[in-house]
């Protein structure tokens, strides 16, 4: 009989807990905040407004589509990545009693951070639809590839979430470092402007950023009516390998968590 690798089998047997932890965080946000899911779209909308002013009034950049649609679509998928990691980085250290007193697969913490953000992404996608309708941007057949793009985004984000949550547990500097890295990373990715325009050595370095093919693939299938290309396929494959590696590393280190908290 085919047997799942141990971490996967364990995760499967604790699937109820993953769902519970995710819904716990969603329910808590609803109970504790007035805006609830509004926060999922508020930040990207504000950022879209800011960058629309900069890139349409101060200077202009040709993105082939109404700039707010370009920026908002980029920010929506970027925000999924960034907010997943923002939740994940503290997920182990902010649950000390669970980590040190009870056994269950600790992957649940970073994974539920990703799932919470995935729900936010779903809400943000509805708003993106409204923004596209407002600017008369239609969708095409390419939208059927959206689940594939989101799957790749989830794999890459989950892998990064495992790494940052684990790293922050061992070295508390990570959460500060994380804020800097994520801020720089956004401008190194085609979120609010196409980084492909950057030339020279910097441009060559930026071309290695795995988030750019992801954000562009997302834009392609949603607003450009194009199917994702080879760059995306490479990125998706790399994400899968990254996830497998990060998961194995996390699983191996799991038993040291209780001693380091």
């Amino acid at each position: 009989m085919f047997k799942l690798p141990e971490p996967l089998a364990e995760q499967w047997s604790y699937r109820e807990l993953l769902m519970r932890m995710t819904s716990r965080d969603l329910v808590l946000r609803y109970k504790q905040t007035v805006m609830g899911f509004g926060w999922a779209v508020f930040m990207p909308l504000v950022n879209t407004a800011i960058f629309s002013v900069i890139f349409t009034r101060v200077t202009t950049v040709d993105v082939g589509v109404a700039y707010p649609v370009y920026a908002f679509s980029g920010l929506v998928i970027w925000n999924f990545f960034a907010s997943s990691l923002r939740f994940a980085v503290n997920s182990l250290t902010s649950n000390p009693s669970l980590v040190t007193k009870v056994y269950f697969p600790r992957e649940i913490f970073p994974f539920s951070a990703v799932l919470v953000s995935l729900v936010d992404l779903a809400v943000a996608l509805l708003v993106l639809g409204a923004v596209m309708a407002w600017y008369h941007v239609g969708i095409g057949w390419s939208i059927v590839a959206l689940p594939l793009v989101i799957l790749a985004a989830v794999m890459f984000t989950a892998a990064a979430a495992l790494v940052v949550s684990m790293a922050n547990l061992f070295y508390r500097d990570v959460k500060y470092l994380f804020e800097i890295v994520i801020a720089v990373w956004m401008f190194a990715t085609s979120v609010v402007y196409p980084v492909g325009r950057v030339g020279g050595r910097l441009g060559a370095a930026l071309a290695l950023n795995p988030m750019t093919p992801l954000v562009e693939a997302f834009r392609d299938v949603v607003i450009n009516q194009r199917f994702p290309g080879t760059e995306f396929m490479v990125m998706a494959t790399v994400s899968a390998i990254f996830l497998a590696g990060a998961w194995a590393a996390f699983h191996a280190a799991e038993f040291d968590f209780a001693e380091n908290l």
Partner: protein
């Protein structure tokens, strides 16, 4: 049915803080790269929390794990719950593990009792269907049906613990691990918990029970092990292991014997003057502190403390606070503390005796918790202290009062 089996388990710990900041990473990596850290070797900052522990718990067995604080009991339990991994050796646990440890760890204060039951159930590995099926029984067991849709931040800590325990008690484990849960909630709830534990033992669920409550260990367990400084010092019949533990404590606290005066013995005497470790509630008890003075000691004070076996401080008495002067102690003799009616309820206690300087600050000699004794009684009051009491009833309704006047109710105890 599951079982627990440990084969030569060792666990290494780090003293003090480990590198928590990036600036410590570089030296740590360098040390690792140079291969100085071997798995079995002890570094400067390391010590063995457990050494070569082997233990089998088979179906139908309940094993009590006792030992002084810091002996390694909690580490052992954490290894069993898979929170920690042994440095060496093997641990095999078959079946679903139910751990009555931190039973409310998964609770979130802002969620309702109902939401928390589902969350905690999932933390313990139960499925939604299973929790739904047992939900009413859980709420009933915890005794909080009217508050189940209230956020648990409005619960008292007792209600919180009860609800957590109720979830844990309903998970039908194949192996049960317990850490000191008998201190949860009020007496009524504790009895329910003990009944539940007995029920599981009777069903044949192997049980490992870590406790300071020596009475409960003797009462519930089929076997006990005594751990001290990370090694098993005794194993076998719970009553024998418990008394071994008590003897060991006394030896640990042997007087240093370099002061001007020494406590040579503390004898506990029953009403008839017989030395015995067994006393009755309401009967006389005499505590004799025998001393040997190397040189005359002027106006020292004698202090007696009584603790329960699990460490609750019950009474502290000393001659200084009682304004009782002993004069100068020379040669040998004994100071007696007589309590005509012992007001402790049944349980296991231990006595500490000390001789202090005239200011009552510095101990000249001290035997801490070195003298155990047991109190028995037919009384069934709860708690530690027996309050002399009587009950009276007064009816204020004139008609009823007149009728009752003839047979005035009073029951003195």
């Amino acid at each position: 049915m599951g079982h627990i089996s440990l084969r030569g388990v060792w666990k290494k710990y780090y003293r003090g803080e480990r590198h928590d900041s990036l600036r410590d990473l570089v030296p740590a990596l360098a040390a690792r790269a140079l291969g100085r850290q071997k798995r079995d070797a002890l570094g400067k900052q390391e010590f063995w929390a457990l050494r070569d522990i082997s233990l089998d718990v088979k179906p139908g067995e309940a094993v009590g794990i006792i030992g002084p604080n810091g002996a390694g009991k909690s580490t052992l339990l954490k290894l069993l719950t898979r929170i920690l991994r042994p440095t060496r050796g093997e641990i095999e646990i078959q079946g679903r593990v139910g751990a009555l440890i931190e039973v409310a760890a998964g609770f979130h204060p802002d969620l309702t009792g109902r939401e928390n039951v589902y969350l905690q159930g999932a933390v313990m590995g139960m499925t939604r269907a299973e929790i739904s099926r047992k939900f009413d029984a859980i709420v009933d067991f915890a005794g909080v049906p009217e508050f189940i849709d209230t956020p648990v931040k409005r619960y008292s800590s007792g209600m919180n613990a009860r609800l957590g325990f109720a979830v844990a008690a309903h998970m039908d484990p194949d192996v049960l691990l317990i850490d000191e849960v008998l201190s949860v909630g009020d007496v009524g709830f504790q009895e329910k918990c003990v009944a539940r534990m007995r029920e599981m033992i009777a069903r044949g669920v192997p049980l490992a029970f870590v406790s300071h409550n020596l009475t409960a260990v003797v009462d519930l367990c089929t076997r006990a092990i005594l751990i001290d400084h990370g090694v098993v010092r005794a194993e076998g019949n719970p009553a024998e292991v418990v008394s071994e533990f008590r003897r060991g404590r006394r030896a640990d606290n042997a007087p240093t014997g370099d002061g001007p005066i020494q406590i040579t013995d503390v004898r506990l005497l029953q009403a008839d003057g017989e030395v015995s470790p067994l006393f009755q509630t309401g009967k006389a008890m005499t505590i004799q502190v025998h001393y040997q003075a190397r040189q005359p000691v002027e106006r020292p004070h004698v202090a007696i403390d009584i603790h329960t076996a699990d460490g609750t401080y019950c009474a502290g008495i000393n001659t200084r606070m009682d304004n009782c002067s002993l004069g100068t102690l020379e040669g040998s003799g004994h100071v007696d503390l007589v309590t005509p009616r012992l007001s402790l309820l049944p349980g296991c206690y231990s006595i500490s005796a000390g001789i202090l300087d005239p200011q009552g600050l510095r101990p000249l000699d001290l035997h801490a918790r070195a003298y155990p004794f047991t109190v028995v009684s037919t009384r069934r009051d709860f708690g530690f202290v027996y309050l002399e009491h009587e009950w009276r009833h007064t009816a204020t309704d004139p008609a009823v009062a007149a009728a009752r006047d003839a047979a005035d109710e009073e029951c003195a105890v």
